[in-house]
């Protein structure tokens, strides 16, 4: 359900700030310049909440509120006053007419979201059907870690991604960073002093802006107690130290619900190309496998009948990779998709050592592999 929020303020600046505050939520913000426009829009649009200023031309907020509360249809719409008129007398006067809440300007966007969030169930806009984010889209990852070496390791390990990796060392700085901008994923060191990671986690979950943000605990592999506690309180996942960066990258992509298929699959003219990376560990294999069938189906559906498995970056062959490739070949055969392989000399040599792979023929380049289809 998309909620409607009506902001009634003669200041365009305030109306823009309100629009900005709620743009990440599944909530439509409609605007009125004064009380007359506000009443008209309230009747026409039936908003779920009204944010109302006091001092406005034509009809001020007090008069609009009085008329609203005397209208049998409109009186049940919750009103939050958002005004610089915050003296005790003003507050008491307005409270007598009937408002749900009162925000005195100046105000932080977070406070506005929090107060409106108490009235309507604000949900991040990502919960509604939108374009799936790709692994090549920018995102912001915030690390809360007091050990610079760990931050440096993460930043270095993810430098090839389009993600902005930020680091803070205290919980206060983390809360400030979340207030300043939208964080797509957080990693909090569970070894911060005084169990600060768990306190921060609770604060973030109580805040509408970060309620649904994926949060990972950064923890030493052997610290079972901290890992158990993190799982109990509801951390999205764990990143165990020493860090395996390719595994961490895959976990982050999954937690942010990113479409990683573009990293491995592309349609190159009339050919589906599947490129495997240098480090083809189990996490990567699982990730590629989740996209394989759908990508083959999509390719066939769009008229493609050739596929190349490009392994030229892969350094070594292991049983997991062999099993995966056998499964990929079988999937191609099932839909009559012709395929060929590209690989380095080292891979070709390794293939000769296994019964299942001895007969595999590799081309040195993608162009050669594509040319081989001319004989079909």
């Amino acid at each position: 359900m998309r909620y409607k929020l009506l902001t009634v303020d003669d200041s365009k600046t305030v109306r823009i700030i309100v629009q900005k505050a709620f743009k990440l939520f599944d909530c439509e913000v409609i605007e009125a310049y004064n009380g007359v426009e506000g009443l008209a829009l309230a009747s026409k649009e039936s908003p779920d909440v009204i944010l109302l200023d006091v001092t406005m031309p034509v009809m001020d907020g007090i008069e609009m509120l009085t008329k609203l509360k005397s209208d049998p249809v409109l009186k049940s719409i919750p009103v939050v006053m958002l005004t610089a008129e915050g003296g005790k007398d003003s507050v008491v006067k307005v409270a007598k007419i009937g408002v749900r809440d009162f925000i005195v300007k100046p105000f932080k966007e977070d406070l506005l979201i929090q107060k409106v969030g108490r009235i309507i169930d604000l949900k991040p806009i990502t919960d509604t059907p939108t374009k799936v984010r790709s692994v090549f889209d920018p995102a912001t990852v915030l690390i809360v870690e007091d050990k610079p070496a760990i931050y440096a390791q993460i930043q270095d390990g993810l430098k090839h991604t389009p993600w902005d990796i930020q680091c803070v060392s205290t919980t206060g700085e983390a809360i400030d960073a979340c207030g300043r901008s939208t964080i797509d994923l957080m990693m909090i060191s569970l070894s911060l002093p005084d169990e600060a990671a768990f306190t921060l986690f609770r604060v973030l979950r109580a805040n509408l802006k970060t309620k649904y943000t994926p949060i990972f605990g950064l923890v030493v592999k052997t610290d079972a107690a901290a890992q158990q506690l993190a799982q109990q309180v509801g951390f999205t996942g764990l990143a165990t130290k020493p860090l395996d960066m390719s595994e961490l990258e895959a976990k982050i992509s999954r937690a942010m619900n990113l479409d990683t298929s573009e990293r491995y699959f592309r349609n190159d003219q009339d050919t589906l190309v599947m490129s495997l990376p240098e480090n083809c560990g189990l996490a990567v294999m699982n990730e590629v496998a989740t996209h394989l069938k759908s990508k083959i189906s999509e390719a066939v559906d769009s008229g493609i009948n050739k596929a190349v498995f490009d392994l030229h970056e892969v350094r070594r062959l292991d049983m997991n990779l062999i099993k995966f490739l056998l499964s990929a070949m079988q999937s191609c055969r099932e839909v009559s998709l012709h395929f060929s392989l590209v690989g380095s000399g080292a891979i070709v040599t390794e293939c000769r050592a296994y019964e299942d792979t001895r007969s595999w023929h590799f081309y040195e380049t993608l162009e050669e592999a594509r040319a081989s289809f001319l004989n079909i």
Binding site: K12, T13, I17, K20, T55, P106
Partner: protein
Amino acid sequence: MPAIEDIPETVFQDTVSRAVHRVFSTMLGRSAVLEPIDSLTPPDATELEHPHVVGTVGFIGSINGLIYLYLAVPFAQECASHLLGMNTAQLAKAGDEAVNDAIGEITNMTVGTFKNQLSDRGFPCRLTIPSILRCSRISIKPMSSATRRIYRFKIGSHILTADLLMQTGE
């Protein structure tokens, strides 16, 4: 209720300092530091030689008054850009109107915070609608019955001048 002349100077200074600091730290993430100047001396026109955006909001009640906030145009643009979440190009496209409105709102919030403190001290009053002046070499001559105080704040590398004109009201 004490007359305006009986209100100690420190009350005005503290009240306006708190208001400026609260607005600039909450809305713009900037701290405002009060400059040690004589609050009875009007701003020198040469200080305001460059083009300025001046926001004005009044308050009416047991004290009547006006507060002018003087911001040099680049500072006003910087504030508007931050407040509206616009970059320089977007702000330029939005024009002076957007800057005026943003400074009007900053003034409204500052004067509101100032007068709310006065209201809570037993001087109830209400705000008027903001207005904006764009000018160079501005000089304001208040009526002789008005109490005037001038405060200057350093905000980053910029200066904000607050000019208060008040007299006892209803």
